[in-house]
Symmetry: C2
Subunit: 422 residues, 2 copies
């Protein structure tokens, strides 16, 4: 493949407009509101060719899955689980500090898990069991009391044993056989057999994304706005072009709409990366996807390090690999990125599976305003205030003056009535 | 007014469907995309009768506002600012801990402010300057580098001096004269004079809410899904019915769609609260609004404390006042609420203005999945991983095994190529 070396980065992502799916989504949500499980079964037949009426995965199916998963994968999953748990547990904050605002007036925040959450895991040929870990592990640590997992069955009603095993490993056994729009609708609305949840997590195709957007509008929280996955590698001569090529290829195999950007102060280095891409791609399984996705690749030659930093922050990459002699300069000035990989031996693959960081990250420039999934995603903070008569006296004048200028006399009254009584 | 005393709480809120405004919103967004400031001026003329072309508030206007605000309000605002700053500063976490996952593999999170944020403040007869403090103070503490404030002018191009003064007090001087849908569109898209931001905060009517929903779909983050404000008071005989009545009335005056719920194990107590409501309402300015909003009031008599707790968590109130002998039981089991006021001397008014907690809170049951605005709302967390060759070796088998079972050979390759080279 041939690539042009650009002088400037383009921050434009492919525009994905889900509004064309809106009517379909609305219709399926309405059908499930009215007909519950019957409607789910209908869409299971229609979209996945599954005729069964039993939506919940049984204990027997869970046991069978455990028996079917190979020992090497079991071992890998347990190690990844351990690392993910270690990283996420460390994010838990200390017991909330109570703040004495005035004499008699104490305020504080407390953290509570979101009680009911839903996890969506896509089906298909390659089961994304790694996402089960990335969502299930922190949800369990947070203490979410009800965790529901939906994933589409094949036409025989089977779910990939890797998914069922990984779910059990994280302690999830409420698993339902349904996918796509109908799965999101089921978790958002609740049916006879599938519980309604307060927040839905997980990756998915355009239908899932459109359904999550719709669910959000109707009152169910979602993890992140979705978009195609992306990687930016910033590398200079201190990096190895063959490693950089391998990283760009690993991102490219995620999907045809994946974005890869390689930024270097050294034009020759970029040329070498391109040579290695063409060499390495031949040995890879998903060449068709990779070649399609590399059509959107950007190779950008920017000499000035300040301008490189600006390009990173303007693009706000989901994944960012830094492999330069000026890494510490870039890290100091970095403002917008999802997950950052530092050094020659930090491939994105590490974070996708097992380094411990989460792989559910903001794409599409959303790193400017969103974090990736972390412990915060599974909890909420409640604020508390304890006020004595003395405490209320201390802020009474302030509250009453402000309420009066905002024209809210009942707000004033609620203070006055407390202070004028004996 | 007469009220029925119920045996059960209803968690249903009035359904507000903003989709009827969708076409209007889409049209205004498109017009502003194409015509920028010219379109803003057009909608300013149309909706606010303001004919001017100067959108940015000038330094002279800011000075004049400062001169016009009364000393008692200035004093109150400064005290409220101090308390809000104290509470929000205490939320800042310590320097991130670096987690050694394996030898040669370290992961951590760092917090960065969202660089560009927008604050919307509604206009009208009673200027909501308190929201300027609630959003501006934490944004400044978080270190957001660009803060834009939009608020509608009157037909002479004037903005309430209280808003301009409060904005300056918090350090905000990028203030633009535009309101409603066009203000949200301007901050979401950017125009010649109004900067594009990454996240929009602030209250507003149905048009503002619909525009914020639209902006969210188009890629601008927003603070919270909106809904009518609400208060639940749980009180027993240890509370004073006249205080509870005053609190319910203060919530009711917020707007005709406000929700108030009073829950007590004691039916007689509820009757007394109703008597005091009818007594106190006569002296209040906003009687018309209050009477309308009290039509949705619920007075609920539940004797069993466990069932009371269940009712609180099912309803998930935005504001919750606890004034009972079993407060500590309720606090232990509390899962869903926005902001909690504890004791006989903790009116909602305190938190609305000056106790230090934020008044931008989840309504409509969203307390089940969302926090109110807090320091987290103005930042995002980036994850980092630093991996040495040794570190990569330690997780190589795990990553490669998982990648292989997910069918992602390029992911395997990115690890292998690093380890096989010398």
């Amino acid at each position: 493949m041939k690539f042009k070396i650009q002088k400037k980065i383009s921050t434009t992502r492919p525009r994905v407009d889900y509004s064309i799916l809106k009517d379909t989504v609305a219709q399926i949500f309405e059908d499930i509101t009215n007909n519950g499980d019957i409607a789910i079964q209908k869409y299971n037949r229609l979209f996945d060719g599954f005729n069964g009426t039993q939506l919940k995965v049984t204990a027997t199916e869970l046991q069978e899955a455990t028996a079917q998963v190979e020992p090497d994968l079991k071992k890998a999953l347990k190690k990844a689980q351990k690392n993910i748990a270690k990283f996420h547990k460390a994010q838990i904050q200390d017991t909330p500090q109570k703040i004495k605002i005035e004499k008699g007036l104490t305020c504080w925040q407390e953290t509570r898990p979101i009680e009911k959450i839903g996890i969506y895991i896509p089906g298909g040929s390659a089961p994304l069991f790694s996402s089960v870990l990335m969502l299930g592990v922190p949800a369990k640590i947070a203490g979410c009391s009800e965790i529901v997992l939906c994933t589409p069955p094949d036409k025989n009603g089977k779910i990939a044993p890797e998914i069922l095993y990984t779910a059990q490993l994280t302690g999830i056994t409420n698993i339902y056989k349904t996918g796509g729009i109908q799965a999101i609708a089921a978790m958002s609305l609740g049916t006879e057999s599938i519980p309604k949840v307060y927040k839905i997590f997980g990756p998915g195709n355009q239908y899932v994304t459109a359904a999550k957007q719709f669910a959000l509008q109707k009152g169910t929280a979602i993890d992140l706005p979705a978009g195609p996955s992306e990687l930016m590698v910033v590398a200079d001569k201190s990096a190895k072009p063959e490693y950089v090529a391998a990283d760009l290829l690993s991102q490219a195999e995620h999907g045809e709409d994946s974005q890869v950007v390689c930024l270097s102060p050294d034009k020759n280095f970029l040329k070498q990366v391109i040579v290695h891409i063409n060499k390495q791609v031949k040995a890879l399984d998903r060449q068709k996807i990779i070649k399609k996705s590399l059509q959107n690749a950007q190779f950008v030659n920017i000499k000035n390090t300040a301008k490189i930093l600006q390009a990173i922050n303007d693009y706000a990459p989901e994944h960012l690999i830094l492999s330069t002699r000026f890494n510490s300069y870039l890290l100091r000035g970095l403002s917008n990125a999802g997950s950052v990989f530092i050094g020659n031996y930090a491939p994105e693959s590490a974070g996708d599976y097992a380094s411990g960081t989460n792989h559910t990250l903001p794409t599409n420039g959303f790193a400017k305003s969103y974090s990736g999934v972390n412990m915060e995603s599974f909890v909420k903070h409640i604020s508390f205030q304890k006020i004595s008569k003395k405490g209320l006296k201390n802020i009474a004048e302030t509250v009453e003056t402000m309420a009066s200028y905002e024209g809210l006399t009942a707000h004033q009254n609620a203070v006055e009535i407390r202070l004028k009584s004996k």
